[in-house]
Amino acid sequence: MPVSRRTLLGGGLAAAAVAVTGTPLLAGCASDKKNAAAANAAVKLPTYVKYGAVKPDLPGTDVVLDGFLKYPANPVKAIAEAPGDGKPITFMTNIPGAIPPSVDKNQFWQQLNQRLGSELQISMASNDEYKDKFATRIAGGDLPDILNIPPDTPQIPGLVKAKCMDLTEHLSGDAVNKYPFLANLPTEYWKGCVFNGAIYGVPVPRGMSRTSLALYREDLLAAKGIKDPAPKNFQEFFDLAKEMTSAKQNKWAWTRVPMSVIRMMLGIPNVWKEEGGKFTSMYEHEAQQEALEAGRKMVAAGVVNPDAFNDKASARKQWFNGGIAAFDYDSFVAWNQYYSDNTAGPAFSVNMLDVPGFDGGEGKPWMGSALNNVTAFNKDSKHSVETLLKLANWMAAPFGTEEYLFRKYGVAGRDYALQGTDPVPTKAGVVETGIGLQYICDAQLSLYWAGKPDVPQKQHAIQEKIAKRLVYDASYGLYSDTLSKKQTQLKKTMDDLENQIVQGKKPVSDWAAAVQTWKSSGGDKMRAELEQALADTAGK
């Protein structure tokens, strides 16, 4: 459906109707924003209490995730009481996979409702469409009880202030102990849930699991006689791609131009870098032009699928799964997703390349962004804040618990078949469980794949390899008004130019001019605000 000006304004008008009947709120004053950073830093974050009932086979660290080779036998039922209050709870989210069967045809969902003690009504949209849905539902004032807020939503502070519950007194410090699985989420993740000097949501943690590098089809490379590929510099990386390309058979090495991998090779910052209180953006880094040249070289050599620039994520995943491409740039979460979407049969096998330095040595991999999203609760919800937090707590029960087993794998015998203690998903299970529960709240990812212990082993090995070299985004948890308003648009402009440059439609030299524009139309202001925010929070 095209969103014409008319439908767009229609949504706005509905919002007006709500504003008239509800309580109209005044826009935040400028002085609020000035002290936001200090106020945010003053918030006492929830105390981290690790839930230690389940011992991992491959223990992690602060950074490396715990790995499990088998699902623990006799999983513990960790939560005795059903979290729901008997009344239906509504939730809006994106879902990454195929559209699941509706509740009347979905046994998993039916049993979930029983276990929760409340009917969970979920309004879903695909990843590609969620932003549209989110924006229009907000404008229409039609909000569910539980709201999945993507981190790049413009003006989150204003949004949560106007529409969402302040959770500070229920979560701050030791108060969180009432919800042991929320307390089991490391403090780092809660930083991203603080706005206007209060905790406004629960985190859906990612971090390490979202760290992305070059994924490759081990089976396809092995068929060409390549085992344990480990390119030592860009040239070898490039040669490997050439070897895996045979355009005549409609096979291209890459699903997209691995610009991020190239940038990591060159030591370009992960979004923002901070040094001695000064911030620099990845865009400004001197190696950018070299990175773009390298990307251009890959496109010109024809090692990237020629349709890479047209298509959406879904096509990319199909190419990789279907063996049309051997390499994809994506995360540990996607790695698992590839196994669950696997259509290539039992030989299908994925691994990840470490990133070398551009001219040899070690590359600097980027730590994945800390949060997938913040999940906030509607201020006007008829449910008590305790009920909603209990629900979030239930959703955060970690790997090894009985709740986790049900949440991720569904109903025994229907959605999964036990192989030893491992729940191996059935076809029905894959679609039935894909209703987006992980976006209400989630435990930290544990490395595990039912029936394939080599998957967590490979994942754990690469994580240990890169853990020490990870580069973090220095802007995380710091508030910048300009960033929250303009980041989305400015980033899109730069992405757009990058696409044109690597396709050879525009000269690499255009980049410098675009960086100047980026600076003057918000980049410099973001930098100043981030530096100020850092200074305000220093020593706290």
Binding site: R5, L9, G10, L13, A19, G141, A162, D496, N499
Partner: protein, 314 residues
């Protein structure tokens, strides 16, 4: 529908009597009118956000007034806005020149077919693409002409060089125009075919008796017969001439970049819905609407001057 007589009998009855007399007709008109008011006129009031620092979570009433600030991108010539305007105008002219006359030519062609059977079959085939959504049409073009599509795969397997059609910023406008022609030309012939069937066959007979060739018949009989409907449709087309195909463009925008693909409608979407600059987006949309109205009024006036009926009469 257009042949309303200009000499209507003068209404002598009072308003009440007339309402009473036409009550059944008015009743019929009621649902449609209500629909238009609720879904077209009432939402128009929402345009007020063009003058506000509108935040969806604060609502229209809760957002601050900002005067003409949102219009500054238009008055000060913000480069992103100018780029969208430029692309829109290019596409508008391309569409007026190539898309608009296409169904007329096709209708003439169909009309000249003697076999009714072939004509019916041809029409059915030509109408079909109209019923496909843009997502399907774009995917079809992608599968046929894309980098790993049918054409390029064929070329590659025969060691010929490939042609970059989809995702080529230089060909983007041509591609868009071709897609529209492929999708909608057949459907648009319906009105012209109807008008063609209205032309009195005696005129053709008289012309051929006078020794007119087929070309002269076309020029002196057929085209004058179509003139009214052509002008009517052209004026209506001008009204939304700045609407150059939102869905079609947004689906293909990523590969070619915004420099050639950003038009006013996608600008509104990218800045408003995705970027959160709702006020600016509404201001641009409002100006776009005003330009459309002005174009229609002017074109209609011109039509009157040349003695045509236009869309409406005074």
């Amino acid at each position: 529908m257009l042949q309303r007589s200009s000499k209507r009998p003068q209404q002598q009855l009072g308003l009440g009597r007339r309402l009473l007399r036409d009550r059944v007709l008015l009743l019929f008109a009621l649902p449609g009118t209500a629909l238009i008011i609720v879904f077209h006129y009432v939402p128009l009031l929402g345009n007020v956000i063009a003058f506000k620092d509108y935040q969806p979570f604060l609502g229209i009433a809760g957002s601050d007034w900002s005067g003409w600030e949102n219009f500054s991108v238009i008055f000060n010539g913000d480069p992103a806005f100018l780029r969208a305007l430029k692309n829109t105008l290019i596409l508008t002219s391309l569409q007026s020149v190539f898309v608009f006359p296409a169904p007329i030519l096709l209708a003439l062609l169909l009309n000249s077919l003697f076999s009714e059977r072939i004509k019916r079959i041809a029409q059915s085939i030509l109408y079909l693409p109209h019923f496909m959504s843009w997502v399907i049409v774009v995917a079809l073009f992608q599968q046929m002409l894309g980098g790993s599509g049918l054409l390029n795969n064929y070329l590659r397997s025969h060691d010929l060089s490939t042609i970059n059609i989809i995702g080529n910023s230089e060909l983007f406008q041509v591609l868009l125009t071709s897609q529209i022609i492929w999708k909608d030309t057949g459907w648009a012939t319906i009105l012209f075919l109807a008008a063609l069937s209205q032309i009195d066959s005696q005129l053709y007979e008289a012309a051929s008796v006078d020794g007119a060739t087929r070309m002269r018949q076309l020029w002196h009989v057929t085209l004058p017969g179509l003139r009214g409907i052509i002008i009517l449709l052209f004026i209506l087309r001008l009204g939304d001439s700045l609407t150059v195909g939102f869905e079609q463009i947004i689906l293909q925008q990523q590969a070619v970049g915004r420099d050639v693909s950003e038009v006013l409608d996608t600008y509104v979407y990218n800045n408003g819905v995705l970027g959160g600059a709702w006020g600016v987006a509404a201001a641009v949309g409002l100006v776009k609407g005003l330009v459309g109205v002005i174009l229609v009024l002017t074109a209609n006036k011109v039509a009157h001057i040349f003695g045509e009926q236009g869309v409406y009469q005074r």
